[in-house]
């Protein structure tokens, strides 16, 4: 026992115990902006974003890590914000759906290739799952910029959508990959687009 020198007397050990807290000041970089608030330690990151920072783009569905609607990027990697306590990730960088677009010199925000692809392919209906889909796909395409259709399916396999049947979301993953390579890539011929619907062409 104590081969690494960690053994201490119980008296010494008691001095090393750290105090517990029920409230904590959480500091995060959210979408490039430093934000902080004092919250209960049981505050999830999802609720911290929505209630304390008023960033309601992140949606809360199942609250136990199954549906994927609350997915945000933690230091660039997708995580379930309902399964993290805000206090645990203090000091880290978070990207939410509000931060996916590119800020333009004139102060406006241009939608990201993944967001454009969702519009092009009509990849949402009610929109509840969309924030989690967009963050997941943004990180997925950063890791694999040229997914096969099967890899596109795998990419969104942890996100539930009850409206679309997923077909258009898979198409949007592939379309986003195309747009990232060539922002002017024309839409494929088959299928209806939002613009065609708007013009009454279909």
């Amino acid at each position: 026992m104590g081969s690494n020198g960690m053994t201490t007397s119980l008296g010494q050990a008691a001095q090393q115990a750290v105090p517990g807290e029920t409230r904590r000041v959480v500091e995060l970089t959210v979408n490039g902006v430093h934000r902080s608030a004092e919250v209960d330690v049981r505050r999830t990151l999802a609720d911290f974003l929505r209630h304390d920072l008023a960033l309601t783009g992140t949606h809360v569905g199942c609250e136990h890590g199954v549906c994927g609607a609350c997915t945000v990027l933690l230091d660039g990697l997708p995580v379930r914000s309902c399964l993290l306590f805000a206090a645990t990730v203090s000091g880290h960088a978070i990207t939410t759906i509000e931060g996916l677009g590119e800020l333009q010199p004139d102060g406006t925000t241009k939608v990201s290739p993944v967001q454009r692809a969702f519009r092009d392919c009509h990849a949402l209906q009610c929109g509840f799952c969309t924030p989690g889909m967009l963050t997941t796909i943004t990180a997925g395409l950063a890791e694999n910029p040229h997914p096969t259709p099967q890899q596109a399916v795998d990419m969104i396999s942890g996100n539930l959508c009850r409206c679309t049947g997923y077909q258009n979301i898979v198409e949007a993953v592939l379309r986003a990959a195309e747009l990232m390579e060539n922002p002017d890539a024309p839409l494929p011929d088959e299928g209806f687009t939002a613009d065609e619907h708007a013009k009454g062409d279909v």
Partner: protein, 300 residues
């Protein structure tokens, strides 16, 4: 739902963490260690458990290392599943790691969930519990009383129950290297990709290892998940020598699957036999492809 209120502790060293756990235990308090939280937080959110104290170890430096040697792979308590999955050297030494990690939940969960945390959770439907048992690995636990290494066979006590004491912190797990010439495979069946498996089987085969007269020519061992209260490991060398039907019969006789809403016990028993044969076949193919020949060299 939201987790019930608790107090959170943020130690910066292992010594502080175990001192905190010891102090809480001395006061008779119910404390849990928080690492990735991908199993613990759902349990809290559904209020299946309401510990009054969470010791958050994410701020402890030095627990996030993956140490690879010719003997095996030591994984620190803060190594996320995704990091171990991407670690080429670790997967060369013990290919079962990556084969099983690919099947652990979804990629998003793997980004946060820790391998050691899933072992401490001791879920018999967890892939990594099965891998630790099948490889004969161990968990290193630290408390104010000292450090001890707990072999897998003694670590898993029951469903969701490990032999970690209330004041102990699992600081790392050790997965021994695959034997020279071995082939490995991990297969499972789930309703949906990323869901808990109805059944799963890991296999380690070592062709042509036995020198004993009359002993089976191929050493075959399988580890099972979701079909027993603690991770089950079976030596199927004799059964494999007698044929695939013998393997299926031996497996179905040894496991104790339960009914639940996802599958009946009979169905689980049936598919587990089939999965065992598939895992062994795949492991043999991997051995034939030279998986076991590419051994880690300590000098590399």
């Amino acid at each position: 739902m939201k987790p019930a209120p608790f107090r959170m502790y943020a130690p910066h060293t292992v010594a502080q963490a175990v001192a905190t756990l010891a102090a809480l235990e001395a006061e008779g308090q119910h404390a849990k260690v928080l690492a990735g939280g991908q199993s613990l937080v759902p349990v809290l959110a559904m209020r299946l458990a309401e510990p009054g104290h969470l010791v958050d170890i994410n701020g402890i430096a030095g627990l996030d290392s993956i140490d690879v040697s010719s003997a095996g792979v030591r994984v620190g308590a803060l190594v996320r599943h995704a990091e171990l999955l991407r670690h080429a050297a670790a997967n060369r030494v013990q290919p079962l790691l990556g084969q099983a990690l690919n099947l652990v939940a979804h990629a998003t969960i793997r980004n946060r969930g820790t391998t050691v945390g899933s072992l401490a959770h001791a879920d018999p439907s967890g892939e990594m519990t099965a891998v630790l048992a099948l490889t004969g690995g161990s968990v290193t636990a630290v408390s104010v009383r000292g450090e001890r290494e707990i072999p897998a066979a003694e670590f898993f006590v029951g469903p969701l129950e490990s032999s970690l004491a209330a004041d102990e912190l699992a600081v790392s797990a050790f997965f021994p290297a695959a034997p020279a010439g071995a082939g490995t495979a991990f297969v499972e069946m789930a309703r949906r990709h990323g869901d808990y498996a109805l059944s799963g089987v890991g296999a380690v085969v070592i062709p042509g290892r036995s020198g004993d007269e009359g002993a089976p020519a191929i050493d075959v061992r399988c580890g099972f998940l979701s079909v027993s209260e603690t991770p089950l490991v079976l030596d199927l060398s004799d059964a494999w020598a007698a044929g695939e039907d013998s393997v299926m019969a031996a497996v179905r006789a040894a496991i104790e699957p339960q009914d639940d809403i996802h599958a009946s016990a009979d169905y689980r028993r049936h598919i587990t036999g089939i999965l065992a044969v598939r895992a062994i076949r795949e492991a043999l193919a991997n051995a034939g492809n030279g998986q076991g020949d590419e051994q880690w060299e300590a000098t590399a």
